[in-house]
Symmetry: C2
DNA sequence: AAAATCAATGTGAACGTTTGCAAAACGAAT
DNA sequence: ATTCGTTTTGCAAACGTTCACATTGATTTT
C-alpha cells in the first residue's frame, strides 16, 4: 500500500481545472500557483508570468469552497433581510453593493419573509463560518443573542440597539419623527394622529417616541385614540385610516411611521372622499420612490438609505480586516422633504 | 513518522463543532453521523436518535464548504441580476424566493450594475461549481456562451432566446406590445410614438417589434421619427419626451416599453403643461407598484413578474434534480391593465 | 573561499465533509 | 450448528485549497 502523500493527479470529475493542473502546465509546484493566486510577494516574476499564462490557457478559476475550507475565509458576506420586495430595503442593498464593489466579497442572501424561526436557523448556519461577516437588516430582537455568542463580525442595520453590544448603523429615527411632528405643529395642527409599525420593531418604537416627545414639547396632550397600530404595510395604513374615520372627529394631520402606510392611509381617506391635504395633512417617513409619484406627492422624512447600507458595509469590512473601530454605533441624519401632502389646518 | 490516517482530533480553531465531535459525543463513527445528516435510510433508529441528541447538545451545524468540496453539491443557487434596486427585479426575486422556500438551497447574489465585464467574470466564477445552478435575469448576449460551455444547469429570465439552447422563462413581450398598441389604435389613435429600451436588450427589441406589427396590422405606416430610443430608466423617458416635444406635431399617444420610462415621459410632457391623457395618452409596460400611485394612474401591460421568478426557479430545481423537461422555453402571458392615462384622441 | 543571510520554491499536513468498499452484526434458512 | 443474505457500521481516501516548515539557490558579509 502506497503512502497517501500530498495532492495527486487531477482532471477527475466534473469540476474545471485545479491548481494542480495549472502547476503541471506551468511547470511549477502547486504552492507556487497558490502564491500567484493570492498575490504573495515572494515569487519570481518570470514564474508568475508563466503561471498566469497557464491559468489563462486552462480557464482556471479558484474553487471558493476549497479555499474556505483550507484558509478559513470564504470571501462571502451574509446578508439577512426580511424581504427584498420593498423599495426600502432595495435602496439599502444598493448601498451595500456599492461598498462591496471594490472588494472581492460576494453576497450570500437570506430572506426570512418575516418568520423569526427562519431567521434564527439562518443565523446559526451562517455564523458557523460559512461567511466572513454578517449584515442584519431590521432583525428580530431574539436573533441578536444567537449571532453574538459566536465570534463573527456583524453589523446591524436599522436597529437602534440600546445594549450597544453589536455594531449598528441606522437613521436618527427619534429625531426624524420629532421633526415630522414639529413640522405639523408648526403648520398649526394640534390633533395629530400617528400610524405606527408593529410594536417591538425598534425603528417604529423610536419614531412613536419622537412623535410623543414633540407633542409634549409643544404642550399638546397625547391622545391614545389617535395612535393607531399599523404594520409598515399598505394594508396596515388602510386599516389605520378606517379606524381614524370611525372617530367622532378626524384628526387634522397624520404622521405615518413609514411611507407605505402613509400611502395606505391616504388611500383609505380618499376612498371616503376626504381631500388630502385640504382636510387632513399626511406626512410619512422613509422617502421611497413611490412617494414622489403619489397623489398628492407625499411630504416625508427622508432616510439616507443608500448611505446607511454603504456605511454599514464599510464598517463591516473594517471589522473583518481587524481595523480599530472608533464609533461602533452610527446614526445617519434624516431630513424633511416637503411636498404636497401637508398644509395648515382649515378651521 | 506516523501514517497520516483518517480524520483526527478536532476542536482546533475558530469553527464550531464538527462531525467528529458529534461522533465522539454520541459514541459512534463519524460516518454514521454523516449518514444521519444526509437522511440515509441505513442507520438504526436508536443510533440516529443518539446522534440527533448529540448534535442538539453541541449546537452542531454542517459546514457547507466542506460538504461541497467532498460531495460536489453546494446547496447554493447563483442569482445574477443587473440591479436589485428596481421594483421590476424585486418582484421576480420575490417569486424566486417563494419557490426556494421549501428547499434547502440558498441564494448567492451577484449584481452586475450593468457592466458586461463584471457579468462575464461572475459567470466564470459561478459556473466553476461554486453553485449548483444558475439563474440569469436579463443577461447580456455575450454572457450566454460562457455559461453554456460549462455543464451547469441554468435558466434565463427575461430573454426570449432565439437559439433555444438555454432554458428560459419570460413574458410574452411581443404580444404584450401588440396588445398595448392595438388598444391605443382601438381608442382611435393613429400617430403613436414608441419609447424603446436600449437596442440589443432582447425584451425591448421584442416589444418594439410588437408595436410595429400592430401598426402594420392596422394599416398605419411606421414613422421612424416617432420611435425614440430610451434606456428603460426614468431619465431616458424624460429625454424621449423632450425629443417628442421638438416635433412639429406631437403624437396623440405614446407606448413606452416599460413603466419607468413611461413615468419619465409623463414627467417631461407635464413639465411643458401638456395634459395626460387629455392631450396625449401614455401606456407603459411592466405594472410596477409606482404605476398605480402615479398621476394619472398609469395604464399598462402587466407582466406576471412574480410568476416568472417562481416558474424559473422551479424549472431550475427540476433541472438540477435531473428531471425530464418537457418545455424548456416558457412564456407567461401579459395582460392589459386599464387605468387613467389613456383616452380617445381629442381632435 | 567559507559562512551567513535572505528570497524563492517545494513538501506534507491540515480543513470538514462524502462515499466506495469491506467488515461486522444480525436473522433466517438450511 | 452452519451457511447465507441482509442490513448496519466503520475505515480510508478523496475533494481543492492554504499554510507552516524545510529546503534550495543566490547574494552578501567576513
Amino acid at each position: 500500500m502506497t503512502r497517501p502523500s500530498s495532492p495527486k493527479a487531477s482532471t477527475r470529475s466534473s469540476g474545471g481545472p485545479t491548481i494542480i493542473d495549472v502547476a503541471r502546465e506551468a511547470g511549477v509546484s502547486y504552492t507556487t500557483v497558490s502564491r500567484v493566486i493570492n498575490n504573495k510577494h515572494n515569487v519570481r516574476s518570470d514564474k508568475r508570468e508563466r503561471v498566469l499564462r497557464a491559468m489563462q490557457r486552462l480557464g482556471y478559476v479558484v474553487n471558493q469552497h476549497a479555499r474556505m475550507l483550507a484558509g478559513g475565509r470564504s470571501q462571502m458576506i451574509g446578508l439577512l433581510v426580511q424581504d427584498l420586495g420593498t423599495a426600502y430595503i432595495s435602496e439599502i442593498v444598493r448601498g451595500i453593493e456599492t461598498a462591496l464593489d471594490t472588494t472581492s466579497y460576494d453576497l450570500l442572501l437570506y430572506t426570512t419573509h418575516r418568520r423569526p424561526f427562519r431567521e434564527t436557523s439562518y443565523l446559526m448556519q451562517m455564523s458557523n463560518g460559512i461567511v466572513d461577516g454578517l449584515l442584519l437588516v431590521s432583525p428580530y430582537r431574539e436573533s441578536l443573542p444567537i449571532v453574538r455568542q459566536r465570534p463573527i463580525p456583524h453589523v446591524v442595520i436599522d436597529f437602534n440597539d440600546e445594549t450597544q453590544e453589536s455594531a449598528s448603523v441606522s437613521a436618527t429615527n427619534w429625531q426624524g419623527a420629532y421633526e415630522a411632528t414639529s413640522y405639523l405643529i408648526g403648520l398649526g395642527h394640534r390633533r395629530i394622529a400617528c400610524v405606527t409599525g408593529l410594536p417591538g420593531i425598534v425603528s417604529s418604537d423610536r419614531r412613536v417616541e419622537g412623535y410623543c416627545a414633540a407633542l409634549e414639547a409643544a404642550g399638546i396632550p397625547i391622545d391614545p385614540q389617535l395612535i393607531c397600530v399599523g404594520d409598515f404595510e399598505f394594508q396596515g395604513g388602510v386599516r389605520a385610516g378606517e379606524q381614524l374615520l370611525r372617530l367622532d372627529t378626524l384628526p387634522t394631520a397624520i404622521f405615518a411611521c413609514n411611507d407605505v402606510s402613509a400611502l395606505g392611509v391616504i388611500d383609505a381617506l380618499q376612498a371616503h372622499h376626504i381631500r388630502i391635504p385640504e382636510e387632513v395633512s399626511v406626512i410619512g417617513f422613509d422617502d421611497i420612490p413611490s412617494s414622489a409619484y403619489a397623489h398628492p406627492r407625499l411630504t416625508t422624512i427622508r432616510q439616507p438609505l443608500f448611505d446607511i447600507g454603504r456605511t454599514a458595509m464599510e464598517l463591516l469590512l473594517d471589522m473583518i480586516s481587524g481595523e480599530e473601530l472608533t464609533a461602533k454605533q452610527i446614526e445617519l441624519a434624516t431630513s424633511l422633504v416637503v411636498r404636497d401632502s401637508c398644509q395648515p389646518p382649515f378651521s
